[in-house]
Amino acid sequence: MSSVELETAPGTRGGFSLRELVRRRPEVITFLLLMAICVIVSVVNPAFLQPSSLIDIGRASVVMGLFALGVFIILAAGGIDVSFTAIAAFTMYSLTLLVSKHAPWIPMPAIILMAMAGGALLGTINGLLVHNLRVPSLIVTIGTQYLFRGFLLSFIGTVWIMSLPPQMGAFGRMPLLQFDSADGRTITLPMYFLVLPIAALLTWWILNRTLMGRAIFAVGGNASVAGRLGYNLRTVHIFLFAYAGALAGLAGIIHTCANRQSNPFDLVGTEINVIAAVVLGGARITGGTGTVLGTLLGVLLVVVVNSVLVMVGIPSTWQRVVVGSFILLAAAFFVTAQKKS
């Protein structure tokens, strides 16, 4: 054919540059920030590097990490979900109540599956509403957050369950790793920690190895175009919210087992923390971008900030100031990097 030299796209050719890397892989910044904090904290207080504090961080990441994966997958499709904490509280409390009052014989694996199924069901309601009302998912999930929580408190119960059914308590204590630290304490990495890497791998696999995953990003890029190209928006919306709901249900039951109590007033109010972690992990709030790895790094960053400030002598009330500054810093960095392109 007539050889037409079309100008090459900026950034496809030419040398490596940090700016280009950050633009394409914003989670690099998250990683560098995380490393910088770890180095500073361990210089100020070497106790940070002890296995016990690392394990604490790992344990604290599980629930937030599961929530964050759900938020991320919805953000990737251009939506946002703020009802996941209500879903988690709803499933964990009703399930604990069910098991302790009526069906103490249900084995733990079945409880976990039921929590996920319950979460998925509530998520499906979100998905159907978002799809059929054609209202921004932020509005829909603000509504359903109130609805799920109100239903829980009005019809299911408000009494704090202080003693869990035995199988749930056992699951919360079941060790994956156990050893004695230098000062003689026993340090345990619980079995439920495994859930996070498994959920992360599954999410990564869905997003990158299935047509559904690509459809999610396509919808996040431009929903009406994706619809025109033949992607079934209804399927995508329902899958998204059901999947995020299942993760929230799972997070809820783990939260209960880990804390050895079930509080119906728990979790709701921590949504912004989770969304902050996902955005710090490089996913754009406008949707269509981000990675599972970035999301996990964002969660680690928030958890580390929350748990180490005390170690370097900064009052815990400063956590919010620090997390807020990081978000602004990261946002400013990502935006300038994009403008240069």
Partner: protein, 521 residues
């Protein structure tokens, strides 16, 4: 003259790939399609012509499965359907390259080109594995076919990082990646320069030789003649003529589309004034443009053209203060003006009608009235800072009349208007500041024949009133019809100046290209 050839007795031979029979579609009270019938044969080219709002996009949506017709029959490869779904249409090989290209900006080139092939293969089911190897292979084949690179780096490039011309080709590559039998292209050349259009036409010729039918929707009649094939002319939701395009003259087609006589001749008849109005000296902003000097007299219409990368767009934006020049001076009515920001340009009486009216110019969900007074809102305020709506409405009504807007309802949102009327609102807005110089950037991009005519007449009226006008455009007939002089830019410099009366398209085009080779050496 009566080329209203056979409408109902369209050749319905067994070899037709797709046939529409008596398709009707209503939107509320609007009867958008009134019994449209035509057929598409393999390897043939079709040009769907008509003014904005005549039903062209509706019929495309019916064929691509995005809309369900109210009445009529669709015969696809011998099978009769009431309506099609998107997946049915895609699976049968009907691919549409929409005007907005319908690319997913956050995905890679490979995914944009070849993901749909996997989706169609799975019958629309999303519960399937996504095959990256096949994705890359399919994408590479399709990209080679449209003359784009097929290496890994290009395949992995995110589409929002590509220049517009390449995105256009990526969209076409996607259309052919699924072994298309019919490709619909909705105004494919609007944003392309002539060279890129040549490339596109070559791609189309190859598609046709492989038995693919191509249906163009376009306002550019010159390109239809170059491509050849059949014309299908729409007016008010009806098919008013169809037949080989060579059988119709430009004038005939324009009259069929509009239902009235269109003057295809030169619009410019007046002579410019003697006084120098505007002067630019040594305008430079590397690498976009350098050492640009030219002047405009009162009442003069100056054309500036060049390839997309020639610096013409950047120059237009520098004059308007959108992205100012790094050095050089600009004088208006004999005094040097400093313009670093659009607000300064407005204060000095320099108006700028941007190329992308949707992104840069109009507030689509606001009314005509609010759009037209946007620049003078502050002047319409009373002492309390409240906008005097009466005064604003009077101004808006006058502007709308001057611009021959074809609606009297000033509260209509601009997004509801046709492209031509939107453009008139945008130009009309600038009349509110009584500019001395008006820079029009691609004033008729995506505008139909009838609206073009109106816009050209308005341009001439403005020039006769003593305003200086600069038209930056790659529509060469437009420049020849409207300008006194035409400057040709290339590689950031003005390389030629022509008297519009003493030149022609070929000369201009030669200058645009010849200078390119000179500069390259």
């Amino acid at each position: 003259m009566s080329p209203h050839s056979s409408i109902d007795s369209a050749p319905a031979g067994a070899k037709a790939f797709l046939e529409l029979r008596q398709i009707h579609k209503r939107f509320g009270g609007v009867h958008a399609l009134r019994g449209v019938s035509f057929s598409i044969e393999p390897g043939e080219a079709y040009h769907l012509l008509g003014e904005n709002g005549c039903g062209k996009s509706t019929v495309i949506k019916v064929m691509s499965g995005a809309l369900v017709p109210d009445e009529g029959e669709i015969i696809l490869e011998g099978h009769s359907f009431r309506s099609l779904t998107s997946i049915q249409s895609l699976a049968a090989g009907i691919e549409t390259v929409y005007q907005d290209l319908s690319l997913l900006p956050n995905l890679s080139v490979a995914e944009n080109v070849a993901l749909n092939e996997q989706l169609v293969h799975s019958g629309g089911s999303l519960a399937r594995l996504f095959n990256t190897t096949r994705l890359r292979e399919t994408a590479a084949t399709a990209l080679r076919a449209v003359g784009l690179p097929d290496d890994r780096a290009f395949l992995a490039t995110i589409v929002s990082d590509l220049p517009l011309a390449q995105r256009q080709l990526v969209a076409i590559a996607r259309a052919i990646a699924t072994r298309a039998k019919m490709v619909i292209m909705d105004e494919p050349t609007t944003s392309l320069t002539r060279r890129e259009v040549d490339n596109l036409i070559a791609v189309v010729a190859r598609l046709r030789s492989e038995g693919v039918a191509v249906l163009f929707v376009t306002h550019k009649l010159d390109e239809c003649y170059r491509i050849g094939g059949h014309a299908i002319v729409f007016r008010d939701g009806q098919c008013v003529a169809q037949g080989p395009i060579a059988n119709y003259s430009k004038k005939q087609l324009a009259e069929l589309m509009t239902g009235r006589e269109i003057d295809a001749g030169r619009y410019r008849s007046a002579k410019p004034g003697a006084a120098e109005l505007f002067h630019v000296r040594n305008f430079t902003r590397r690498p976009a443009f350098e050492e640009i000097s030219f002047s405009v007299r009162t009442g003069e219409v100056l054309g500036i053209t060049g390839l997309a990368d020639s610096g013409r767009n950047e120059l237009a934006m520098a004059i308007a203060g959108v992205s100012p020049a790094a050095s050089g001076t600009l004088s208006l009515e004999g005094t040097d003006r400093r313009i670093r920001h659009p607000a300064q340009a407005i204060a000095n009486g320099i108006g700028y009608v941007p190329e992308d009216r949707l992104a840069e110019g109009l507030f689509l969900d606001k009314s005509i009235f609010e759009n037209e007074i946007a620049l003078v809102v502050r002047k319409l305020c009373n002492a309390l800072g409240i906008v005097d709506k009466e005064k604003g409405r009077a101004l808006s009504a006058k502007i709308s009349q001057d611009m021959r807007l074809n609606t009297r309802d000033l509260d209509l949102p601009v997004g509801a208007l046709s492209g031509g009327n939107q453009q008139r609102v945008l130009i009309g807005r600038w009349l509110s500041i009584l500019p001395k110089l008006l820079v029009l950037h691609g004033p008729t991009v995506g505008v139909d024949v009838g609206s073009k005519d109106t816009i050209y007449r308005v341009i001439q009226t403005l020039a006769e009133a003593g305003m200086g006008l600069v038209i930056v455009s790659d529509d060469l007939p437009e420049l020849l019809q409207n300008c006194d002089r035409i400057l040709v830019m290339n590689a950031g410099r003005i390389v030629a100046e022509f008297d519009a009366l003493a030149t022609n398209e070929d000369q201009l085009y030669q200058a645009m290209l010849a200078s390119k080779t000179e500069n390259a050496q």
